[in-house]
Subunit: 259 residues, 2 copies
């Protein structure tokens, strides 16, 4: 594996960690010397399954993935969506057993790191350990907001909130701009994320479109008025904790998180 490609694989994650704790040159070297194996996962294929006991951690290098659980009645609930730079199965490696499924949303390039390497890394570089711990705390914060979204927002607000969250996270990772973004989720997947039915998702999306809150073109979503969408969704980006160490990126115009 050449130096260039190692950089490409780990860069996004390292840059995220830099925004979560102050790291030095030794941390950097230690992180970039992590051994990993690259693996490609087709859409809808599983990255991890409930019950897995795989001693590894998987990193999304490119593509999107989502977590979900299925109830005994067979209803699926999507728990989160992950973007490049995210670790998606620390649970499966640091806990003894995975309690949920992780599935590729689009074709994913992933990097697999052995559990022992992760443990050695965080024990030798405590700052990196703290960055990863903080990352886990932020994941928890996003889960909490998701609970509010399915528990206490009606489906229209919930949908707007979801769209705002994706926009803001993608933007913070440099993967979207204020014009809009590609949201490669089917209406059925959106339904499972919001805890409603696909039929209802359809009606909500059409209503948002009719009201001019979003403009849809296939699965590309353009948002003419972020402030309006933000208001309907009751979105405030505090819970994303984007500015742990470095100040949030300032952009022109009405970016989604300007609250």
């Amino acid at each position: 594996m050449s130096h260039e490609s190692v950089a490409r694989i780990l860069d996004r994650t390292y840059r995220k960690f830099e925004t979560r704790a102050s790291l030095d040159e030794d941390d950097r070297r230690a992180f970039y010397s992590l051994p990993f194996e690259v693996r490609y996962v087709d859409p809808n294929r599983y990255i991890a399954r409930e019950g897995d006991r795989a001693p590894r951690a998987t990193l999304i290098v490119d593509g999107l993935a989502f977590r979900h659980k299925v109830t005994v009645e067979g209803a699926r609930q999507i728990l989160s969506v992950h973007i490049p730079g995210d670790f998606v199965d620390l649970e499966g490696s640091l806990l003894t057993v995975a309690d949920h499924n992780v599935q590729a949303l689009t074709r994913c390039e992933t990097a697999i790191v052995a559990r022992d390497e992760i443990i050695r890394l965080v024990e030798t570089r405590p700052r990196l350990g703290r960055a990863m711990w903080i990352d886990t705390l932020i994941d928890g914060s996003i889960y909490r907001e998701w609970i509010v979204n399915v528990g206490r927002r009606d489906s229209k607000s919930g949908m707007c909130h979801l769209l705002c969250e994706f926009a803001r996270r993608l933007e913070a990772a440099g993967l979207a701009d204020a014009a809009g973004y590609e949201l490669p989720m089917t209406q059925e997947q959106l339904a499972d994320a919001l805890g409603i039915t696909p039929v209802h998702v359809n009606r909500i999306l059409r209503e948002l479109d009719r009201q001019g809150l979003i403009v849809r073109d296939k699965r590309f979503v353009r948002v003419p008025n972020w402030e309006a969408l933000r208001r309907v969704g009751g979105f405030s980006e505090l819970y994303l904790h984007l500015n742990q160490v470095m100040p949030a990126v300032q952009r022109e115009g009405a970016a989604p998180g300007r609250a």
Copy 2:
């Protein structure tokens, strides 16, 4: 602060950590030498508030507390309930700002530890750091299940699941037995935990009572048939990750988690 009382304050948390990573005598000494300040919080008083930037971590020594958020429309969503031994505002100390509220459910005895002490502890004792990280991961796992509960279970299942979760967690902490337990939540609080209305909680509880799934006496809940409650709630304790290092306690009869 005498040796005895330090032990009493920190014991429950340390014993929990022991079930999450293997710790040695040095870890133990380091943990028990954490400086803390004891504070008592009356029911419904806040332990932390959204927006707080307090550089500290709070530990529940005795009593119950809960996390919640309030939407812009004023609806409250309860996110989790915490029992003695739990850290409840790491978010407020390791992240720069708290994104939700933590409130006492019953009168709480808490121990406050300065942020810097926590950081020094985890940097000098990496194993303890890992135990705390794992604890955060498990909190995340519980949030995920909570998302499923409000998103994809109907109110009856959701209520049963909630009762099972409390039972199992209290039992694992040695605070309840198979006979039943005191659940000091008002129906309004249960409603905010399940994302439904208090009126509906009332009807569900009466229905469960009528069907013999629970026997209520004030707020003490007795469960004549754990297996039945577990089935209606679709409860499986995997997500609680109770047996990270040590095997789960084996008890006589029909314990809630025997799935």
